[in-house]
Symmetry: C2
Subunit: 273 residues, 2 copies
């Protein structure tokens, strides 16, 4: 059996000293460069594959410095501080530039932690929405390639079908999962956290150039809880808080079907005009 | 006139190649190490002082790897990618360890941007709360030193006076500003974003060891808008979304008195038990 298309896209070959070789997958192509969620998952995967890894991801921040070009890239993942129960990683993705020299296209940081069971509570209950079986699939007109890799069933704030400047709200809620069955894991969740189309398109019902500059994921679930999700649906909710002079922020929450919060995620996004 | 105590605390002396020398200020001492907000502001200050700086801060992520020890430290701020209108920085703070070798105590990333006026809107209106002149000051019993550096007037979710396990909510809203007048700026705002006491103390009305692991600030205001705030009050709102196995997340918003959103900020925080 071939690996899942997502696992192919984030696949890395260790080349020593925390360096890894990867290649852009055309299956996740976006308008310019690849889907940012797959890039975030690839940065995280370098940490997951590192032999010195302690625990599981708690926090991931990915800064998109430039569009990745088709072809090979290098990921560096270095543990810069290992404590008793947490570990701090500095990650970078580089590609050969026009002149052949290495250029930084992504910087990232990851905190991993060996977690213990403690008093726990969720303070963001999953909103009451129709269950995925009751929501019709949504077909995005002329989707970019990566959108075909996911099943999406929006219950609120779908990508507009008409760009008439009528928007008044920036909130989207949608059920989502891989189009080809794949059991959810930490890299898969990191990618799902970036699935939401630019909030400015919804808020203005106007399509303007936009792209994520920096995103952060705080993982509330570990790999065991995600494995229980299996190929189940994840409910995602995203909205903007401010649009200001070329950049807006997005705050997102992702729950499993039982209403357990899997992660919270935030990003700041460039937009034009 | 002596510099403001905050400016003394974040002061850095350039030593070349994006390296800076600083020293821990006892004026912002926390229970263990300094107030994290001042550490975040110090990391940002290294970028602000760098001669290659393009634009103003858009995004700041600070990972707290270990408690900073009293005494000197070194900040390194390196621009790893400069685009037409954005610039990506990798920052680290190091201190000499027990054996004399340099140890990483903070990693950080900063994105700066040259912003242009565009269509803009705030989607998080400031909550309706009493204005600061109508809110009595709140005295924290036995405050740590850094708390004396700020005036705080909580309108909701003050730090509990009795630790009786009765908590049911994690939201705090408070007016805040420097105790000694200082005009607000980007470093000052970064510090204010970390003023909120650990959400787990409020949610459980139980005082357990807790400390920020990673924090992110998205700047919606630039230095000109912050200068207009001057020594005015800032309304901060913070709440947790999930407490899970030793870590909770916090999501925060900060407005000026006129209700303009100055920044959104997020963090993940360790807690015991």
């Amino acid at each position: 059996m071939n690996p899942h298309v997502f696992d192919q896209a984030i696949a890395l070959t260790p080349t020593g000293d925390g360096h890894y070789a990867g290649a852009i997958s055309p299956a996740y192509a976006n308008m310019v460069g690849p889907f940012g969620g797959v890039t975030a998952a690839t940065a995280l995967n370098a940490v997951m594959l590192h032999p010195a890894l302690l625990g599981e991801p708690l926090s991931l921040t990915v800064n998109f410095c430039a569009a990745l070009a088709d072809g090979p890239f290098t990921v560096s993942a270095q543990p810069v501080r290992t404590n008793r129960s947490t570990q701090h990683w500095v990650v970078a993705i580089t590609q050969a530039g026009a002149g052949g020299e290495d250029e930084t296209v992504v910087t990232a940081s990851v905190v991993t932690a060996a977690r213990r069971s403690t008093w726990s509570v969720d303070d963001e209950p999953m909103p009451v929405v129709p269950m995925p079986g009751d929501v019709p699939p949504y077909t995005v007109p002329s989707p970019v390639e990566w959108l075909r890799r996911y099943e999406m069933r929006p219950v609120e704030g779908a990508i507009p079908h008409t760009w008439d400047g009528s928007g008044s709200d920036s909130q989207t809620r949608l059920w989502m999962r891989d189009a080809v069955p794949r059991s959810l894991d930490l890299c898969g969740l990191a990618a799902l956290a970036d699935v939401f189309f630019p909030r400015v398109w919804l808020r203005r019902a106007t399509r303007v150039p936009a792209g994520t500059v920096s995103m952060t994921v705080y993982f509330h679930a570990g790999s065991a809880q995600l494995a229980e999700v299996g190929h189940g649906w994840v409910l995602g909710q995203a909205r903007a808080q401010a649009f200001r002079n070329g950049f807006f922020d997005q705050t997102a929450l992702l729950w499993n079907e039982e209403g357990h919060l899997l992660c919270s995620s935030h990003q700041v996004v460039y937009y034009k005009e």
